[in-house]
């Protein structure tokens, strides 16, 4: 027993020195704004492993699902199925080379009959009525659903159906069928509820949390998973926690120091660089690999809006630019952080009571924005975290201020770790724990050109315009539903609007009076 202890203590003391050096190196590199490229290499390696794992799973699946569901696929004249077959066949060719002949027959059958690699995670195809809060868009939504997840989504209307429907018709018994079908389709699969849960992955990324239907696939895969598990929990997790701890302390110290400098141009310059450095250190606590696109559009002042997926969004954006944050004043540790940050740079922190008062918020926003030397304010108009497959309704408050808006689109790659914070399921600590035991956080940030409110454009229309620009750039679905549906029920007014829309289409016989 004593021997083991002495061995452990000796090895620890040997490792401690290089370990500290390693940590210092990270901080140093972050402060001069360079990186070793270790993280990108790591991510590339992970991609190769995932690809291998995916092939493995597909082979195993073919072995298992032989003829039971082939027969059902025969009659589905599926245009999407055709497309998927083409995509799937290229995946299959590498399998032909690597595996035995008896697979060939099974794969042949699969290719002829149906979808090979299920590129879409939809259960049904929705082509008709989909109800949305604004009933005039009931039919146009149907066409956008089918191009979900496609970066080059083309939004086309079905004008034929719409113009037909706008002719007034007398009531018939079959009129209820549209609503009934739309309702049952919504029960099977709707646009909204799954946005508040983690995105479903198309193939397993070797984390147990994403594979709820875990079945034993193969020894090789299980071995890889085991190695990955050990590496994540026994090596990466402690390192990341340590870096996080150090990073937060460093941030507090640095901003404290900057706070003592006299107001002026030097302070702003110092704050800019210190802020980027500290957040750079913190980002390595999550192994964040961030790619910034179109940096010529980086915001310099005004208001910056982005889609919201998790609190990590702030970290992701702050690694490249210095922002002013806006939020509620907290107590405790977060409060200390807020006060430290506030000393160095003009952030906007509210008392809890003021948050509800929209006028006060707007006034402070305007005040901040009117001084062009202030850093841009970072706002998330959705107001809540959405799971990064769609963008939900933007609240109009920040669009009424009248300043320039810099839209930013953030898209996380869910293969390496799902960044979405499901606040009804996980607390902040649990969420951070999950983040630190994921492979990495890989995301793309697109800076979009600045947008201005046009003459005669209402704040709501402006907000929608910005929202669709962000959705288009990030390859996200543009929804008009309110993100607050995560917690609240649908408003009765929306149902009333649907009723109104239906009654507009009814031809009423006004001749009979008795």
């Amino acid at each position: 027993m004593a021997l083991i202890w002495s061995v452990v203590s000796v090895s620890c003391s040997i490792l401690v020195m290089p370990f500290l050096m390693f940590l210092l190196a990270i901080i140093f590199l972050a402060s001069i704004g360079k990186s070793l490229g270790v993280r990108r290499l790591y991510v590339k390696m992970l991609l190769k492993i995932f690809e291998y794992g995916r092939e493995n799973i597909e082979i195993a699946k073919k072995d298992r699902h032989t003829s039971c569901d082939n027969s059902e696929n025969e009659d589905e004249d599926d245009v999407e199925g055709q497309r998927d077959k083409e995509k799937g066949s290229s995946n299959v060719t590498c399998h032909y080379l690597n595996h035995s002949n008896h697979m060939l027959h099974k794969m042949d059958r699969k290719l002829k009959n149906g979808v090979l690699a299920n590129n879409s995670t939809s259960v049904i195809s929705r082509e008709d009525l989909i109800l949305v809060p604004d009933p005039e868009q009931n039919y146009t939504s149907a066409s956008t659903v089918n191009s979900e997840g496609d970066h080059t989504a083309v939004i086309h209307n079905f004008p034929r159906r719409r113009s037909f429907e706008t002719l007034k018709r007398e009531f018939e018994l079959s009129d209820c069928l549209n609503f009934v079908k739309a309702g049952v389709e919504a029960i099977i699969e709707d646009q909204v509820t799954h946005r508040f849960e983690a995105e479903e992955l198309k193939s397993w990324n070797l984390l147990t949390r994403t594979n709820l239907h875990y079945e034993f696939i193969s020894w090789r895969l299980s071995f890889i998973w085991m190695v990955g598990f050990l590496m994540r929990y026994c090596f990466l997790l402690p390192v990341r926690v340590l870096i996080c701890f150090i990073g937060v302390m460093w941030l507090t110290i640095c901003t404290g120091i900057v706070g003592y400098v006299r107001e002026g141009k030097f302070k702003r310059w110092l704050n800019y660089h210190v802020s980027i450095m500290c957040f750079g250190v913190l980002s390595s606590a999550l192994s964040a690999v961030i790619t910034y696109h179109n940096t010529e559009n980086r915001p310099k002042c005004g208001i910056c809006v982005a889609n919201h997926t998790s609190p990590i969004d702030v970290l992701v954006l702050a690694c490249d630019n210095c922002y002013a944050l806006i939020g509620q004043r907290h107590g405790g540790f977060l409060g200390i952080l807020q006060r430290a940050l506030a000393r160095a740079s003009p952030h906007i922190w509210f008392e809890r009571s003021e948050v509800k008062d929209r006028e006060a918020v707007a006034k402070r926003l305007r005040q901040h924005v009117s001084d062009p030397r202030n850093p841009p304010i970072l706002i998330f108009p959705e107001g809540t975290c959405i799971n990064n497959t769609s963008v939900m309704q933007f609240k109009k408050g920040s669009f009424e201020v009248g300043s320039v808006i810099y839209p930013v689109a953030i898209k996380y790659d869910p293969k390496f770790g799902d960044a979405f914070w499901n606040s009804s399921r996980y607390s902040m600590m649990q969420y951070l724990y999950l983040m630190m035991t994921s492979w990495a956080i890989v995301c793309d940030v697109w800076y979009l050109p600045p947008m201005y409110q046009q003459e005669g454009e209402s704040a709501i229309d402006f907000a929608n315009r910005v929202k669709s620009a962000i959705a288009r750039q990030g390859g996200l679905v543009d929804l008009m539903w309110d993100g607050q549906l995560k917690r609240m029920k649908a408003k009765p007014e929306w149902k009333e609007k649907q009723q109104e829309e239906f009654s507009k289409r009814l031809k009423i016989d006004t001749k009979k009076q008795e």
Partner: protein
């Protein structure tokens, strides 16, 4: 993380549901994961609130009637997965040459008929029709106009003169409607 009671269906259960409803095992599994995600309380059954939490259903004028269709059998306040699937099976597309137990044209029409028939007496009365019209138009059309619409509809469909629409009369009235298309949902994979 909650108690995920039997996240995976047992083989016998899948086989039973396949036998009764005609869904493929793949579809059954997908629908089961949908069922569990709607089941917030993790109790293995759904209540009316669970359904109405779906925003698209909550704003549907006939949302309540549709939800009611799931609870129709028996007096329970909750729906289990088999019952859930049995109702959804009505919306499977009709396959020629296949045994369509729950999704034949007649079954689909029966489902639509039950939307109107509020008290389950196999007849649609004028008041029931009026109630459904109210649900669909809200306060946008006056009472007299709605009454006249209801009367006209019954007049056109009623064949035996009892001022009510029976199931046969309903089927006849919808003879020219493409019920297969309007009451079928296209399932992928």
């Amino acid at each position: 993380m909650g108690n995920r009671s039997s996240l995976l269906l047992r083989e016998e259960e899948i086989a039973q549901i396949q036998e009764e409803t005609g869904f493929t095992p793949n579809q059954i599994e997908r629908l089961y994961s949908r069922f569990t995600s709607l089941d917030r309380g993790d109790c293995g059954t759904l209540s009316r609130e669970d359904f109405l939490r779906i925003p698209e259903l909550a704003i549907n004028p006939l949302g309540d009637r549709i939800v009611h269709a799931f609870f129709e059998e028996g007096c329970s306040d909750r729906v289990n997965f088999l019952q859930f699937m049995q109702v959804l099976a009505h919306f499977r597309p009709i396959k020629k040459g296949r045994d369509n137990k729950l999704n034949s044209r007649e079954q689909k029409l029966k489902f639509a008929f039950k939307m109107y028939d509020l008290d389950n007496d196999d007849k649609i009365s004028k008041d029931e029709l009026l109630a459904i019209l109210h649900m669909m138009v809200g306060a946008n059309i006056s009472e007299e106009q709605l009454t006249s619409i209801a009367e006209r509809t019954i007049l056109e469909a009623d064949q035996n003169g009892d001022q009510m629409i029976s199931f046969e009369e309903f089927c006849n009235a919808l003879e020219r409607t493409d019920v297969e298309q309007k009451m079928s949902i296209r399932f992928l994979n």
